[in-house]
Symmetry: C2
Subunit: 206 residues, 2 copies
């Protein structure tokens, strides 16, 4: 088994942290985005979407999409449960994880793909849209505010237990801070309280 | 238990079809999008994202996001399995479902929110971007081509068994055809073969 990885990208880091929380060790293979390896024929055979991460099993089966890879490992090695145990927990954790993806990670992604670093790296086979960059930035900031309010009522993103939703949020916010100039406002004290706690877990270094 | 629903929207239909496949009956409550009910205080308490569908349990717990609601019911009533059984199946079905959501449903959604019906209905608290509409249309058409190729090698979206990924694809394509002027090209014969088969299931009427 091996995991096709890109160290600085937010989605592969989600899988690395998930594996660290589970105590599972999977060999990593770096994919060279700058040289377009993810759009080459060999990689597209593994994932026609041309995105990292991809998990390749020993029989050649490939699983793309960070959350799908995490679900594979949750089914294989259930403990510690990172997607919930009861039906209501399973539903609520997936809800929070999806809202983080669809309303925060995608807003950050919109700011990123329409921003200056992607323009310079010419990663985009893609027309940049300044108005979409602004929508992304505004969406991310509004969602940070919402999270700050919600985290006043619970310790972690989806309740009182650490879950996959915390991993999604951590990787998104760290990427937004380091590479998209979208660091959350220092006044969002509950969000920063949460960020300090999850960043202190050993898995955050993965 | 009740499900907050909008008959014509693609995401609530995903849950209705899922429930029909499981043989589960849940009372529906219609939400009036035209009057902005989904952005009102009462609804935002159930789902701060202001989106349908939302499942409200008898204890008041609310689960938003169509896939999260489906996962709740999969955990409650496992058979028939619509998210897979083995770890590899679970991973692959989630991968296909997510790629359909992120690369097809979102492209269709981009064409929709930047298109003429939303402009007329003034649903958007949202600046419309013509270039984003075009990106959405091109993305959807490219993904239809990809699906047509993949469906030459398998009966259903994620393999030889009907799954949640087929529900996502059916609701997306029907919405794109009826409301976004993005009907798949008649030459995509494998995609239409698949569409005929899944549309003939009793659940498709849900």
């Amino acid at each position: 088994m091996k995991l096709y990885d890109v160290t600085l990208a937010p989605n592969p880091r989600r899988v690395r942290i998930f594996l660290a929380e589970k105590g599972i060790d999977v060999p990593l293979v770096q994919v060279n985005l700058a040289e377009g390896e993810h759009k080459g024929a060999e990689f597209l055979e593994k994932n026609p979407s041309g995105k990292v991460p991809v998990l390749e099993l020993d029989d050649g089966t490939c699983i793309a999409e960070s959350v799908a890879i995490c679900r594979y490992f949750e089914a294989l090695t259930p403990e510690p449960r990172l997607f919930g145990t009861t039906p209501a927990e399973i539903g609520r954790i997936d809800m929070v994880n999806r809202q983080l993806e669809l309303e925060l990670l995608q807003a950050v992604g919109r700011a990123w793909v329409n921003g200056p670093i992607v323009a310079k790296m010419a990663l985009g086979s893609f027309e940049q849209i300044p108005a979409a960059k602004l929508q992304g930035e505004n969406g991310a900031r509004a969602f940070y505010q919402r999270l700050d309010g919600e985290l006043a009522t619970r310790q972690f993103m989806a309740g009182e237990a650490f879950s996959v939703a915390d991993i999604t949020a951590l990787c998104t916010i760290d990427f937004a801070t380091r590479l998209v100039d979208l660091k959350p406002d220092p006044e969002l004290s509950e969000l920063w309280r949460w960020h300090g706690e999850v960043s202190a877990r050993p898995s955050a270094g993965a």
